[in-house]
């Protein structure tokens, strides 16, 4: 008789032990089923997107702007619009987020009331409902000027991106060893040079990760764009006018009763999701290596 069998013989007659083992089996099954459900949901989403979206991903859809139902319109202006708005959004958010993160990491000691206030606020900003950010920007940048604009959309996206960049920048800068700062200071470098050329450079990978994650987060956002850049059926490259974007187009087209619009919505959804997932996968793989 092997050790294992003896062990199980020792367990078996004890009803309490048997009960505990039964519970363990239940819990194992439950946990497996729970994680199976989440993985299945992801698979189901990807499958739905692929099976419905592939057919709509023609060259036509990629190079022609949106048009009336049945006219063979595409998504080109929405794709460009999304790129422009997220691009400007990141251009606003990155310096602001970096500055704020540097401040929190370098000057934000526990005694600094202002810094802990900013830290709390940026944490709150991280999970504020995105539609409220849209409302806010509407009141600040759309209502006073009297017209929707791509710039307002970019600002809304920037507000959503800033807290993520702040958090990662602060975390990454705090991981830079103090010895490195001391070495820089010992060479006579002024404080800002130590921060920018030593600490920020050392934390470069982490900070880039944060910026990319922020990009992934905002590029799928719809709600804040509804009231700020509104969407546009036509070509428009002016940031002072309403501009189309992929998520808003998906929203408008998915519920439409024209087959070709629904088809375009699926194609757009596939594009957005693949883009977002690709950024996420790339970030995670590079983070694991680095």
């Amino acid at each position: 008789m092997s050790d294992k069998q003896m062990l199980s013989k020792g367990w078996a007659p004890n009803p309490r032990a048997a009960r505990r083992r039964r519970f363990d089996v239940f819990a194992t099954i439950f946990g497996t089923v729970a994680s199976g459900i989440l993985v299945l949901v992801l698979a189901s989403i990807l499958w739905t997107l692929l099976s419905n979206g592939i057919a709509g991903l023609s060259v036509e859809a990629l190079i022609r702007p949106m048009g009336a139902p049945g006219s063979g319109g595409g998504l080109a202006n929405a794709i460009i619009g999304s790129l422009i708005q997220t691009g400007i959004g990141l251009l606003i958010a990155t310096p602001l987020g970096l500055g704020c993160g540097i401040y929190l990491a370098e000057y934000g000691t526990a005694q600094n009331r202002f810094a802990s206030c900013v830290r709390f606020i940026s944490d709150v900003l991280m999970s504020v409902p995105s539609i409220l950010v849209g409302l806010f920007v509407y009141q600040v940048l759309v209502a006073p000027f009297g017209h929707f604009s791509a710039l307002a959309g970019s600002v809304a996206l920037a507000i959503l991106a800033v807290p993520i960049i702040v958090r990662t920048t602060e975390d990454m800068l705090r991981l830079v060893p103090v010895a490195m700062r001391e070495a820089g200071a010992a060479l006579g470098a002024p404080r800002w040079r130590v921060t920018v050329f030593l600490c920020l450079r050392a934390a470069k990978t982490g900070v880039t990760t944060g910026i990319l994650l922020a990009l992934a987060r905002v590029s799928g956002e719809t709600a804040p764009l509804l009231f700020t850049s509104l969407g546009n059926q036509n070509w428009s490259l002016s940031i002072n006018k309403p501009m189309a974007s992929l998520p808003v187009t998906i929203y408008q087209y998915a519920g439409a009763s024209y087959d070709d619009w629904v088809q375009l919505a699926w194609a757009g959804a596939l594009l957005v999701t693949l883009g977002v997932l690709a950024i996420n996968i790339a970030v995670r793989i590079s983070a694991r290596r680095g």
């Binding site: 600040v140 800033v162 998915a254």
Partner: protein, 327 residues
């Protein structure tokens, strides 16, 4: 978690370093740099302060006209210009509750499986899949819900439930209604799969933060994995788990696009889980474009936004307090 003590001492050291450096005559570039970075911190502070204040400011007309009755008044009528927040608030709260009730066991089970059962290699793959699920944009969840879950609920779940439980007391009114497929339950289901990945990530972190020695000594005494979970890990990380649930709740409260697709968007109050309802966020998203600037309707929508802001702020503060306990 393991980094916490070293990081603290590092920051203490850097604090002493900085005070040492400030004793030197600081150059104008240093001053400029300090002004730049603290300026951006100030800007971030102003933006959120502005966000909270302006929401209340925009809704002042509605709150002024309807008073406190605004919150508990169940009417939303653009024709007579009468507005009350009760129907969307009810929809928001019930759909969030359903979402959290489904998501918590899902997230707990997944985190348990990832930390205690799966081999590290499998756990890292599945863990990554779950994290990717969290990255899927919410409008995609909306489309998926609209074209996959809604028909499924309409064709299978609801007919099954009505067939078997129509005359059951208590349960009967809950499942009453025409089989549209849209409604509170569908919204709750979609919300659940959206927030479960966040909860899983937080729970996985708090479970991993339990000192391995505690776990190993329990295993050494012959405990099963479930025993260890129930008697060691759960008591140790209780507040972190509650914090995770509240964090997920906060996300579900403000979720817009996914809910707008699947809830049916009828401003009404009732106990049926299968009747179309609306939530604060979905109502704002749908009605905002039709509300002229300066109208009482727009003001009511902004007041709704203010209430949503307060709700999510409270849930966030709660999550922070609860998670703070574990640290």
């Amino acid at each position: 978690m393991t980094l916490a003590p070293t990081r603290q001492s590092e920051s203490q050291r850097s604090a002493s370093l900085s005070s040492g450096m400030e004793d030197k005559k600081s150059s104008w570039t240093d001053t400029l740099f300090h002004t730049l970075v603290s300026g951006s911190a100030l800007l971030v502070l102003l933006v959120l302060g502005g966000l909270v204040l302006l929401m209340g400011y925009g809704g002042r007309d509605a709150l002024h006209i309807f008073g406190l009755k605004f919150v508990f008044h169940n009417i939303w009528n653009p024709v007579t210009n009468e507005y009350g927040a009760w129907a969307p608030l009810f929809g928001t709260i019930i759909s969030t509750l359903i979402g959290v009730l489904i998501a918590v066991p899902l997230a707990f089970g997944t985190a348990f499986w990832l930390t205690a059962i799966a081999s590290p290699r499998v756990a890292s793959v599945i863990g990554m899949a779950v994290q990717l699920l969290a990255a899927v944009p919410s409008i995609i969840f909306g489309m998926w819900g609209f074209f996959t879950i809604v028909p499924f609920v309409a064709r299978h779940i609801q007919p099954f439930l009505t067939h078997h439980f129509r005359h059951t007391p208590l349960l009967g009114p809950l499942i009453h209604g025409a089989p549209f497929g849209t409604g509170l339950l569908t919204a709750g289901l979609v919300l659940a799969v959206m927030i479960a990945p966040f909860m899983t990530a937080v729970m996985r972190d708090v479970f991993n933060a339990v000192p391995p020695m505690l776990r190993e000594s329990a295993y050494g005494l012959g405990a099963t994995r479930w025993d260890v979970m129930r008697k060691i890990i759960v008591p140790w990380s209780r507040s972190g788990m509650i914090g995770a649930a509240v964090l997920g709740m906060g996300r579900a409260l403000g979720e817009t696009m996914a809910v707008t697709f699947v809830i049916g968007n009828v401003t009404d109050v009732g106990w049926s889980l299968f009747a179309p309802r609306s939530t604060v966020a979905s109502l704002i998203a749908l009605q905002f474009p039709e509300s002229p600037a300066g109208s009482i309707r727009l003001s009511s929508l902004l007041a709704l936004g203010f209430i949503l802001m307060l709700l999510s702020f409270v849930s966030l503060a709660l999550a922070r307090v609860l998670r703070g306990d574990t640290k």
